[in-house]
């Protein structure tokens, strides 16, 4: 007699057969899916490898064409390389260079901006953008990109490269009249340089150029302490001291130069004349003061004789050139009145220099007179 099968049991068996068949089907499909996934992934990897090779080939072709000056051919090849290997930064940088060479700065900037969006701290990308912005006269953007390039992560091995970029940045700022920013970068640049003589000299030269003669002089004297006969340091120190208005120090350094060039020789003579012509210098006798005053006035007289100027000036010079009356030469004569005469003479000579500048540039004597007048507060800077 066959066994009695309950209702639920029959349903369960019937359902079980169907479910079992479905589960098997799903499992088979899952296996097919996995196999297909692996196959597709392999093919994708293989295609990607081929594409990378193609991109490298186009990149090489483009670079070669670019170096040969075939910009259009280079652009075509590099565009293909960039399209195939979109994420490759070398390709993108080459493409940007080719675009710049073709005069398409807008697209070059777009390519670089795209790279920058992916790598905001990439120094070379920021640097290229900075150069591009500089060429397009977009100074605020150039400053931002240069700053980002400098603030990027630099390995200790590439510090020199960063210094070179900062130097470039300083040049850009200087030529665009951004002197304060240039000086600020110059100070950082100088601080980053190693303590070698050559580096200190470079730093001092840069600081002098950027309008910081005090720090420049300090660096030059540092070098001179180690190498007292270093001609470049002597010249630099002389110039820095001259710029600072310390003419006696300038004279001291410049006189140690054995064969100064024309400019330095002239600077030295001016510094010497500043010391030799000043009638108001301390610890001078009355005769010496008078002699110096007469020299200054004689220079002004020569100047007036060769250039047309206010006739009143010539009269004033002539009057002051007349020797003081005997009563005025007495020791009891009012010292203040005497000093006024020297000041008046110096101020007059400086005014003659100023008013005849358009006629003829001041000579060394004239420059010295102007400097002395400024030092004595008789002439405005």
């Amino acid at each position: 007699m066959p066994p009695v099968v309950h209702f639920e049991e029959r349903v369960r068996r019937q359902l079980g057969r169907v479910v079992h068949r479905e589960l098997v089907a799903l499992a088979v499909l899952a296996v097919v899916g996995v196999a297909m996934f692996l196959l597709t992934r392999e093919l994708a990897a293989s295609n990607a490898s081929v594409r990378r090779r193609d991109a490298a080939s186009w990149h090489a072709t483009g670079r070669a064409a670019l170096s040969e000056g075939h910009t259009e051919r280079a652009l075509l090849a590099l565009r293909r390389a960039a399209h195939i290997n979109r994420g490759d930064r070398d390709v993108a940088l080459s493409l940007a260079t080719a675009l710049e060479a073709a005069g398409n700065n807008r697209e070059a900037a777009a390519v670089l901006e795209d790279l920058r969006a992916r790598q905001p701290d990439a120094a070379d990308v920021n640097l290229e953008l900075a150069r591009l912005s500089t060429r397009d006269n977009r100074l605020p953007a150039a400053i931002r990109y240069y700053q980002d390039a400098l603030d990027a992560l630099w390995s200790p091995a590439s510090i020199d490269e960063r210094s070179a970029i900062r130097r470039e940045f300083i040049t850009v700022l200087t030529t665009r009249g951004e002197r304060a920013r240039a000086l600020s970068q110059g100070l950082v640049y100088a601080a980053e340089l190693p303590p070698t003589t050559a580096s200190q000299m470079e730093a001092a030269s840069l600081l002098l150029q950027l309008g910081d003669p005090a720090r420049a002089l300090s660096r030059y004297t540092g070098v001179l302490a180690a190498e007292p006969t270093n001609a470049t340091a002597l010249a630099g120190a002389g110039q820095a001291a001259f710029a600072l208005g310390d003419y006696s120090v300038a004279r001291r350094y410049l006189s140690q130069l054995t064969s100064p060039d024309d400019r330095l020789a002239s600077m030295k003579r001016v510094a010497e004349l500043v010391a030799a012509l000043d009638p108001l210098a301390p610890r001078l006798g009355a005769g010496e003061r008078e002699r110096r005053l007469q020299q200054v006035l004689a220079h002004a007289g020569v100047r007036l004789s060769t250039c047309t100027a206010d006739p009143a000036l010539a009269t004033a010079v002539t009057q002051l050139q007349e020797p003081p009356t005997p009563s005025a030469r007495r020791p009891s004569h009012d010292a203040v009145t005497q000093a006024d005469r020297f000041e008046e003479g110096l101020a007059l000579a400086a005014r003659v220099e100023r008013e005849t500048t358009s006629c003829r540039p001041p000579d060394e004597g004239g420059q010295a007179i102007t400097i002395i007048a400024r030092q004595r507060g008789l002439e405005e800077e």
Partner: protein, 451 residues
């Protein structure tokens, strides 16, 4: 009797769960097939043409490969000529969702050969048909009910298109808008599941790279909308020209004696070979150049020339009976036309305007809306490509105008017209909508049991 009812009820519950599992699996497999199809096309194209093809190769490759595909298409796979989207629509509406596995296989093989050998055709349409064939074959093998089998077709199509374009939302909309023909279809859930599964698989293999790399564009000045409207009109006219040429030329090819069927793809191959000698840019899908147009890096003359040559090349490739779609060519033509108009606007507009790339993007959408007649898919596809809302308003304006013009002068959508040429008449949207049973996701078990 009671036993059978209880078993049936339990089975329906199982069927819902099974359909969900199948939607995921179909999505994954359709996505993989689309990716594999695309990779094979790339590999075949690279192998056949090399890195820098010579003139001889440019001419001989499409000619000789078309001879081979002509044999395959006439002897072994006669159902796989052309795009694949109309055939999928016919399978859904008229054949109960039955798409033979042979069709999928044939489409894959001939599609790879045709598009890979330089024919100016797209890979998305064939992907849709391959996805649909895969879904249908799986459904039949597992033994799902007829209504579930029919429902699997748009699910497979959505999965394939999502992977082909990397646009999951647009793929779902395309399945609803084009394949089913009803935006309210309740199959949306399954299509979304398949689309998401497909995109996950695609991105896990190819990475999350968008199809095109487009900078952020926006409407720069309100008056620019007039320029975009003009672009929409031009898009509509171009759509019309493209569709009329496509249908006219296809009619001409169909009038040729039947014995020439085997040689027709080769005739197309010869003509395409000649075109490639002059403008190799129109080869294959041409997305490289679309990308350039979208980034505004092409010259006006090149844009106009490529737009016109692409129309001619696509018409030749398609109507000569090769296997490949018109999605990609439509996008190409639209991008070139848009880029050209954008360049003109950029030169003459007295107000600030967006770059030519923005117009290329909108042009792409406008042509898609005009030719494919799927405006919502077009809007979402462009949005998914750009990830930018700013361009949507100009895009909708251009799409609308293009669609209106195209519809006014070519009332029958191009896919339906192609089917009509083959003697297949799809039900009109009006006749589809009332019978929700056709499109509705199969009702839950309880509901079905109550009926």
């Amino acid at each position: 009797m009671t036993t059978e009812r209880a078993t049936a009820s339990a089975l329906r519950l199982r069927e819902n769960q099974l359909f969900l599992a199948l939607s995921i699996i179909v999505g994954v497999l359709a996505g993989l097939s689309a990716v594999l199809f695309s990779l094979c096309i790339d590999r075949v194209s690279r192998t056949l043409f090399g890195l820098e093809p010579s003139a001889a190769r440019l001419f001989l490759v499409p000619t000789s490969v078309s001879l081979l595909t002509g044999v395959l298409l006439s002897r072994f796979f006669p159902d796989v000529r052309g795009s694949g989207v109309p055939q999928t629509e016919a399978a859904y509406h008229l054949k109960g969702g039955v798409v033979p596995a042979r069709v999928g296989l044939g489409k894959f093989l001939t599609g790879v050969l045709c598009v890979g050998s330089g024919h100016s055709m797209g890979r998305e349409g064939p992907s849709v048909q391959i996805g649909a064939a895969l879904a249908s074959s799986i459904g039949r093998w597992v033994g799902v009910s007829p209504e579930r089998l029919k429902a699997l077709v748009p699910v497979g199509a959505a999965g394939a298109l999502a992977a082909a374009f990397n646009t999951p939302v647009a793929a779902v909309l395309f399945a609803l808008e084009e394949i089913i023909g009803d935006m309210n279809a309740s199959l949306i859930g399954s299509a979304v599941v398949a689309s998401v599964a497909s995109v996950i698989v695609e991105r896990s293999i190819l990475g999350n790279e968008p199809l095109f790399h487009v900078p952020a564009y926006e409407l720069v000045h309100p008056a620019e909308l007039a320029a975009y409207a003009f672009l929409g009109i031009v898009g509509g006219v171009l759509s019309l020209v493209f569709c009329k040429l496509l249908l006219g030329m296809r009619t001409a090819f169909r009038r040729l004696p039947e014995r020439t069927l085997i040689l027709q793809p080769a005739i197309g191959g010869v003509l395409i070979g000649l075109i490639l000698l002059v403008r190799p840019e129109v080869m294959g899908v041409g997305y490289d150049y679309v990308d350039q147009a979208l980034n505004g890096t092409m010259l006006m003359r090149t844009l106009v020339l490529l737009c016109l040559v692409k129309i001619v090349a696509t018409v030749i490739s398609y109507t000569s009976g090769n296997a490949g779609g018109i999605f990609a060519p439509t996008l190409f033509i639209g991008a070139m036309a848009g880029g050209a108009i954008g360049t003109i606007v950029h030169r003459v507009a007295p107000f600030p305007v967006a770059g030519p790339g923005a117009y290329a993007l909108v042009g792409m959408g406008a042509l898609f809306a005009g030719v494919i007649r799927a405006p919502m898919t077009s809007v979402f596809m462009v949005f998914e490509i750009t990830q930018d809302y700013q361009i949507l308003v100009p895009l909708m304006v251009a799409n609308l105008l293009s669609l209106v013009i195209s519809r006014r002068y070519q009332p029958v959508p191009v896919y339906h017209a192609l089917l009509q040429q083959d003697g297949v008449h799809l039900p009109s949207p009006v006749s589809i909508r009332p019978t929700q049973d056709d499109t509705a996701e199969p009702a839950p078990a309880g509901h079905t049991a109550a009926r």
